[in-house]
């Protein structure tokens, strides 16, 4: 028996998303992801002063605005031949790390886990606990996490003035030079947030979690909501659900004076090869866009107002050397060579993605402590940027959801071209000219769908495990 099923709009994701499923004999045989929201940022940026990118691109997304702002600053710096001063890069890393940490917390507590409180799981041994901890909008786990996030954003407020849509990150550093008092306040805030996160999420200190080496050790982790997730995952076999391409990309997170904190590369079959940004192409065959496949530095954004087939999404299809790659916390940690992440990367499942994210939360807590301690109030945090009439540049950063790239070209002092490839553009891309589905589309194949299900719960788990941010995807 074959039936078509349209799942969407998805709730508890950022932005709008629809997925069309073909279901055969109770399993998904094909999936098409559609991002039904288009704004046209790349078109608006043309003809504007280059520095406007610093203000406009963060507004692509209210969730990861610091990532966008940092990518714009790096791209602009690349075009101008300017770099962040060491302490400026450090402050930018703190701003960015806090945002990524907060995104992971929201994803786990507010977006992903509430699905396990659904009535469809009533009777499972863990269901009562899932309901009391994670029922959407009222579970006991939600409030402390939301409060910890609000606290963590004090740091962004302190260093960046406001969040969302922080303005402080510039090509040569940050506008705010923290003093010694700010540094102490940042450290105090980190400590307070860490206490909540350790109590709720890990039931123990973050360090032993960050030091986990094997999947078996992860599975026997005893405390916090991480343990509850393990129990659910074992029962529902989330380690076999939603397997992605198992090819992962990371451009390396947090560029500091000493290099990027995590490694850059492409992980496949246990081996990491170098990431060549020149091998990125955006395929338009199944996007409502006109033009040919092109590298983002040469690409254009011309929406097809007829929305003609076979296209079915506003999302372009980025490919690396012609192939799909998955991006995100798991990709980042696996490329970086963390043993647990490498083991999870081979698995490539829903559980692996969540495990990768929890691992990154634990590691970020220790990194943030280190960075805050390294702030040097007497140093300069920003240099003067040279003006330029012509130039081209790229800015690559690791947003919470994965690799984010900005490519811009400046001609006669204004932006001639601006192209953005967001993490969810990689993960939720439509098919390419060869008919190869995007990572999520492929991961959904084989997913069980009950006869009576109109919003199949397994599909929800798979889609949410990627933490889609649709407003970034199509910008």
């Amino acid at each position: 028996m074959t039936r078509k099923l349209l799942v969407g709009p998805f709730n508890r994701v950022e932005g709008d998303l629809e997925i069309q499923l073909t279901v055969e004999d109770g399993r998904v045989s094909a999936a098409r992801a559609n991002s039904p929201l288009f704004r046209g940022f790349e078109m608006m940026l043309q003809g504007k002063p280059p520095s406007d990118a610093l203000t406009l691109t963060p507004r692509i997304c209210g969730i990861c605005s610091v990532s966008q702002s940092k990518a714009a600053a790096l791209a602009l710096g690349d075009a101008l031949g300017a770099w962040m001063l060491p302490q400026g890069a450090l402050a930018a890393a703190i701003l960015h790390g806090v945002e990524n940490l907060c995104d992971h917390l929201t994803h786990f507590a507010l977006f992903f886990m509430p699905d396990f409180a659904r009535p469809v799981y009533a009777g499972r041994g863990w269901h009562d606990r899932a309901v009391s901890r994670f029922t959407a909008t009222r579970g006991a786990a939600l409030r402390p996490i939301v409060e910890a996030r609000a606290q963590l954003f004090h740091i962004v407020g302190l260093l960046g003035g406001k969040w969302p849509h922080t303005l402080a990150i510039q090509p040569t550093g940050v506008t705010r030079a923290p003093d010694a008092r700010d540094r102490i306040r940042i450290q105090t805030t980190l400590r307070a947030a860490r206490r909540v996160i350790e109590r709720e999420l890990f039931g123990a200190a973050a360090e032993p979690f960050a030091a986990l080496q094997t999947v078996a050790a992860l599975e026997s982790w005893p405390g916090g909501d991480a343990a509850l997730f393990n129990e659910i995952s074992a029962d529902l076999r989330l380690d076999t659900l939603g397997v992605g391409p198992r090819r992962y990309l990371s451009c390396g997170a947090y560029p500091l004076d000493s290099g990027r904190v995590t490694a850059s590369g492409v992980w496949e079959n246990g081996a990491v090869s170098a990431f060549d940004p020149a091998a990125v192409q955006e395929d338009l065959s199944h996007a409502w866009m006109l033009g040919d496949a092109a590298h983002p530095a040469q690409g254009a954004t011309v929406p097809d107002e007829d929305m003609a087939g076979p296209a079915y999404s506003w999302c372009k299809a980025p490919r690396l050397a012609g192939r799909t790659v998955e991006v995100g916390a798991l990709a980042r940690q696996a490329v970086d060579g963390h043993p647990l992440a490498v083991a999870l990367a081979s698995e490539g499942s829903v559980r692996a993605r969540i495990g990768g994210r929890l691992l990154e939360v634990a590691r970020l807590l220790t990194w943030l402590d280190r960075w805050a301690a390294a702030l040097e109030p007497s140093a300069r945090f920003m240099g003067d940027a040279p003006a330029t009439a012509d130039g081209a540049g790229a800015g690559l950063v690791e947003a919470a959801r994965g690799t984010l790239g900005h490519w811009l070209r400046i001609e006669r002092g204004v932006i001639a071209s601006y192209q953005i490839v967001a993490p969810t553009t990689w993960n939720f891309s439509p098919r390419d000219a060869g008919g190869v589905p995007g990572p999520v589309e492929a991961a959904l194949v084989g997913c069980p769908v009950g006869d009576a299900e109109s919003t199949p719960v397994a599909v929800q788990h798979v889609v949410r495990s990627f933490d889609p941010c649709m407003v970034c995807t199509v910008h």
Partner: protein
């Protein structure tokens, strides 16, 4: 309708103590600029009035308004989101998904016809029959019109809903259009800013829920209590402006000293908002405090005024300005013009009391 519980009931059922509740009432009164005498009134209203249902819909947007809202410093503001006002329909936070969610929206509309507040985040794109923003298979414009039809009032959250914001930047590829140009027959309160300050959002919504009416609005339809003063008027760096002490380059000695950012393109002198008083992220800071000028994100058209780093020049008229509407219309970042003239005006102006045109709704 008789079955709707009161706010207090809802809060109690969430395990919120009487003490926290009273604290909430007094801080709400303070945030709204009301005296201590209003605290029992707010408490009484919340104990006895059925809560007002809120439907929160999202058009073309970046979710920054929701993000701002959920980290308000307002005591229990998290409860405002997570339980209290009981957002009957909000597709970012709610539990239901897909068709279930669409059904929940319809149920809420039917159940509370004429009594609910519609909160709009983002705006509808009108090009190509609204195809650039599809919710549940239909253009967002349709959802908006449908939900607005039986709403008691509409809140336009943020610059998107109020004015169009960055997606309306030239050439406005999708023809993103502010809410009041699509819905013309309902009272609309604009809460501009990209995003608006969390405390402003919770203050507005609490006022409406508590007193069952709109707060006083200015001529642009903004709540006067939060948008009647310029960032510049209450800026902690204002003395440096008046003294002619300016940052000339990023992170120069003057920047370290916290001098005025006017020459770095700060739009504080032409921007009406509460950032310099309420501040951001639970009162921690605001952009000027982070060493970056204000970009004027709560003003109409802020996204298409030339570079954000060009200085505001036509300030001379502001000393004798009539109202915010005029300032909003003339605010522009054109390079040139002398700072000395403005400083003279500034001294003159400080002797004047600014008045705002207001109208009751």
């Amino acid at each position: 309708m008789s079955q709707i519980e009161t706010f207090y009931d809802v809060m109690r059922s969430q395990g919120i103590t009487r003490r926290s509740f009273m604290k909430y009432c007094s801080l709400t009164a303070a945030a709204l600029g009301l005296g201590p005498a209003f605290v029992p009134k707010i408490a009484h209203a919340m104990e006895t009035k059925p809560r007002t249902p809120v439907i929160w819909v999202h058009g073309l947007e970046c979710t920054c308004c929701s993000e701002s809202f959920i980290r308000s410093a307002h005591p229990l503001a998290k409860d405002v989101v997570l339980s209290m006002i009981s957002l009957d329909y909000d597709d970012t936070l709610m539990a239901a998904a897909g068709h279930q969610a669409e059904a929940a929206l319809q149920d809420t509309i039917d159940k509370y016809k004429g009594n609910y507040i519609l909160a709009v985040e983002g705006n509808p794109p009108l090009n190509e029959d609204g195809m650039y923003c599809i919710v549940g298979g239909k253009p967002f414009t349709d959802q908006l019109r449908h939900a607005a039809e039986h709403a008691k009032a509409i809140i336009s959250w943020g610059a998107c809903a109020s004015y169009g914001c960055v997606q309306a930047a030239a050439p406005n590829p999708t023809r993103a259009t502010p809410v009041h140009k699509v819905i013309t027959d309902k009272p609309i309160i604009k809460v501009p800013g990209c995003p608006p300050i969390a405390e402003v959002m919770t203050g507005v919504i609490t006022y409406m829920l508590t007193f069952d009416r709109m707060p006083e609005l200015d001529r642009q339809g903004r709540p006067a209590m939060f948008y009647s003063q310029r960032i510049h008027d209450k800026c902690y760096r204002r003395p440096h402006f008046d003294a002619g002490q300016f940052v000339e380059h990023w992170d120069d000695e003057n920047a370290r000293k916290g001098y005025c950012l006017y020459k770095m393109g700060c739009k504080g002198p032409t921007t009406y908002n509460a950032c310099s008083t309420v501040r951001w992220n639970e009162g921690v800071s605001f952009p000027i405090q982070s060493g970056h000028g204000c970009i004027g994100c709560s003003e109409d058209g802020f996204w298409d005024q030339g570079s954000f780093y060009n200085r505001v020049t036509d300030l001379t008229q502001f000393g004798i300005e009539a109202n915010a509407d005029k300032v909003g219309a003339t605010a522009a970042g054109v390079v040139g013009a002398g700072i000395a003239a403005h400083i003279a005006v500034s001294a003159l102006k400080s002797a004047q009391k600014k008045t705002q045109s207001k109208e009751e709704v």
